[in-house]
C-alpha cells in the first residue's frame, strides 16, 4: 500500500481538486452553459448510458484486428523487400506513404466497398502497415552481420534464421513499430468511424452526438478515446516490453 500512496495519492488528490474546481466554476450562474457540462454530468452519463462502453469495445476490437493484421503484413513486406537489396528507395516510398493520413484513403474505399466495417478495417490495416514496415526495415539494416554469419555456420535455414536470430535481435525495432502502428491506427479508426461506421464505434458515437447536439456524449467520447489508448498503452505495452525487450537487455526509445 505504501507504494500506492507514494506513487498515486498526490496525483489522485490533484485530480479531485481539479474536477472539484471545474464543477464549482461550471455551475456558477453566468458561466454554466450546455456546451460545457460539469464533470459530474459526464460521469453520470458514463454510468447510466452503458451503450458508450459497447461503442468503446467495438472500436477496441477493430483496433486489435487491424493492428495485428497490418503489423504482420508490414513486417513481411519489409523482410521481402530486404531480400532484394537494390530496392534502396523503399525507405523513401514508406516515408511517403506514412505522410498520408490514414483517413485520406477513406473516400476511395467508400466508393469501392461502401460504408461499414470492411472499409474501416481496410483503412486501419493500411495505416498499420507502414510504420511496421519502416521500423522492421531499419531493424534489418541494423543487424550485426557477424551474428548473421554465425547462423549460416550453424546451418540454419531461412525460417530458422528469422525466428531464432533476426526477430529476437531486432525486437526493440519491432516493438517501436508495433507501438507506432497502434497509435496511428487508433487515431485512424476514430476518424474513419466518424465517416463510415453504420452502427457502433466511438467515432460513430461522436458524430451521432454532434448531429443530435448531445454534448455530454461528445465529452464522453473524447474522454474514452484518450483513456482507452492510455490504458492499453500503459498496461499492455508496458507489460509486453517488461517481459520481452527489457528482460533481454534492450531499450525501447
Amino acid at each position: 500500500m505504501a507504494w500506492f500512496k507514494k506513487l498515486y495519492l498526490d496525483h489522485i488528490l490533484i485530480l479531485i481538486a481539479i474536477l472539484g474546481l471545474a464543477q464549482f466554476i461550471l455551475t456558477r450562474p453566468g458561466i454554466a452553459s450546455p456546451i460545457f457540462p460539469t464533470p459530474l454530468v459526464i460521469l453520470e452519463r458514463m454510468i447510466h448510458f452503458p451503450k458508450i462502453w459497447v461503442h468503446a469495445l467495438s472500436s477496441i476490437i477493430r483496433l486489435f484486428v487491424s493492428v495485428i493484421t497490418g503489423f504482420i503484413l508490414g513486417v513481411l513486406i519489409a523482410v521481402v523487400i530486404r531480400a532484394f537489396k537494390k530496392l534502396s528507395f523503399f525507405e523513401d516510398a514508406i516515408s511517403f506513404f506514412m505522410s498520408i493520413p490514414g483517413i485520406s484513403w477513406a473516400p476511395i474505399f467508400i466508393i469501392l466497398l461502401g460504408f461499414g466495417d470492411r472499409v474501416i478495417l481496410l483503412v486501419a490495416v493500411i495505416t498499420a502497415i507502414f510504420p511496421a514496415a519502416y521500423y522492421t526495415w531499419h531493424g534489418l539494416l541494423a543487424l550485426d552481420l557477424h551474428q548473421k554469419q554465425l547462423t549460416d555456420l550453424m546451418g540454419y535455414n531461412t525460417v530458422q534464421r528469422y525466428i531464432q536470430f533476426v526477430f529476437p535481435a531486432m525486437a526493440n525495432y519491432l516493438v517501436i513499430g508495433f507501438k507506432l502502428s497502434f497509435a496511428r491506427t487508433w487515431r485512424t479508426i476514430i476518424a474513419i468511424e466518424m465517416i463510415c461506421a453504420t452502427t457502433s464505434g466511438l467515432g460513430y458515437m461522436a458524430m451521432d452526438a454532434r448531429e443530435l447536439l448531445n454534448i455530454r456524449d461528445l465529452y464522453c467520447g473524447i474522454l474514452l478515446s484518450g483513456l482507452t489508448f492510455l490504458v492499453i498503452d500503459k498496461i499492455v505495452f508496458s507489460t509486453l516490453e517488461h517481459y520481452t525487450v527489457r528482460r533481454w537487455g534492450m531499450k525501447v526509445k
Binding site: 505522410s99 498520408i100 454534448i215 467520447g221 473524447i222 484518450g226
Partner: protein, 232 residues
C-alpha cells in the same frame, strides 16, 4: 536537398496534371493554398504556444511531474475526436481547422520539449551555475542549445501530427476549400481521378513539410554543429 527538389518536382507535375485534366474545375491551387495557409497559421501558433508553455514549466519543476500526466492523457486523445465538439462550438469555419491543427501538435511538442530539457547534461547546468547565470540565462544559453536535437524531433513530430489533424478536420468540417475537403467531396461524384490527385498531393506535401524541417533546419544547425542524428 536532393529529396526536396524531387518532391517539389513531383508536386509540380501533380499540379500540372490537375490543371490539364481540369481537376477541381481548374482550382487545385486554391485548395492547396487553403490547406497550406491553415497549416502555416495553426502550426506557427502551436509552436509558439508550446515553447512558451515548456519554458514556463521548466521554471516550475515541482508541478511539472503532475502536468506531464495530463499531457500524456491529452496526447492520447485523437485530435479528430475534438472536431465534432469544435464544429458545434466554432462552426464550419477556418477557426475549427486552425484549432484542430493547434491541438494536433501542441501537447506532443510540449511533452517532448520537457523531455529534452530534462535530458540536458547536468555538468552543463552546473557550469551555468558556476558562471552565475540566472534562470533565464541558463535556459536560453544552456538548456535550449543543448536540447536542440529534441527540439527538432518534436517540431518534426508536431508538423506530422498537425498535417494529419488538418486533413481530418477538412474532411469533416471544411466548407469549400482544402485538400481534405476536395478528396472527401469528390466521393459524392464518384470522381476517382480527383480523389487520387488529392491523395497524392496530401502525401507529397506531408513528406515535403517533414523534409523541409529536416534539411533546411536540421542540416544547418545540429548536424553542422556535430550533434547526434535522431530519426522520427
Amino acid at each position: 536537398m536532393k529529396k526536396i527538389v524531387i518532391v517539389l518536382v513531383l508536386i509540380a507535375i501533380t499540379i500540372g496534371y490537375a490543371y490539364y485534366e481540369q481537376i477541381a474545375a481548374g482550382h487545385i491551387f486554391a485548395h492547396l493554398w487553403a490547406s497550406l495557409s491553415r497549416i502555416i497559421i495553426g502550426y506557427a501558433l502551436s509552436v509558439a504556444a508550446s515553447f512558451l508553455t515548456a519554458l514556463a514549466l521548466s521554471f516550475l519543476p515541482g508541478i511539472q511531474k503532475y502536468v506531464r500526466v495530463y499531457l500524456n492523457f491529452l496526447i492520447s486523445i485523437p485530435t479528430i475526436a475534438w472536431i465534432p465538439l469544435l464544429l458545434i462550438v466554432t462552426g464550419i469555419t477556418n477557426r475549427t481547422m486552425i484549432i484542430a491543427i493547434f491541438l494536433g501538435s501542441y501537447f506532443a511538442i510540449v511533452f517532448n520539449l520537457l523531455d529534452g530539457f530534462k535530458t540536458v547534461d547536468k555538468n552543463l547546468v552546473l557550469l551555468g551555475r558556476n558562471l552565475e547565470y540566472n534562470q533565464a540565462q541558463r535556459l536560453i544559453r544552456i538548456m535550449v542549445p543543448a536540447s536542440l536535437n529534441t527540439i527538432l524531433v518534436s517540431l518534426k513530430l508536431g508538423i506530422s501530427y498537425s498535417w494529419r489533424a488538418l486533413i481530418g478536420a477538412e474532411m469533416l468540417g471544411a466548407a469549400t476549400k482544402g485538400l481534405g475537403y476536395l478528396s472527401f467531396a469528390s466521393r459524392q461524384f464518384y470522381d476517382l481521378k480527383t480523389m487520387f490527385t488529392a491523395l497524392v498531393l496530401i502525401g507529397l506535401i506531408g513528406y515535403f513539410l517533414i523534409q523541409l524541417l529536416t534539411h533546411f533546419i536540421e542540416e544547418n544547425t545540429i548536424r553542422k554543429w556535430g550533434f547526434n542524428d535522431h530519426t522520427m
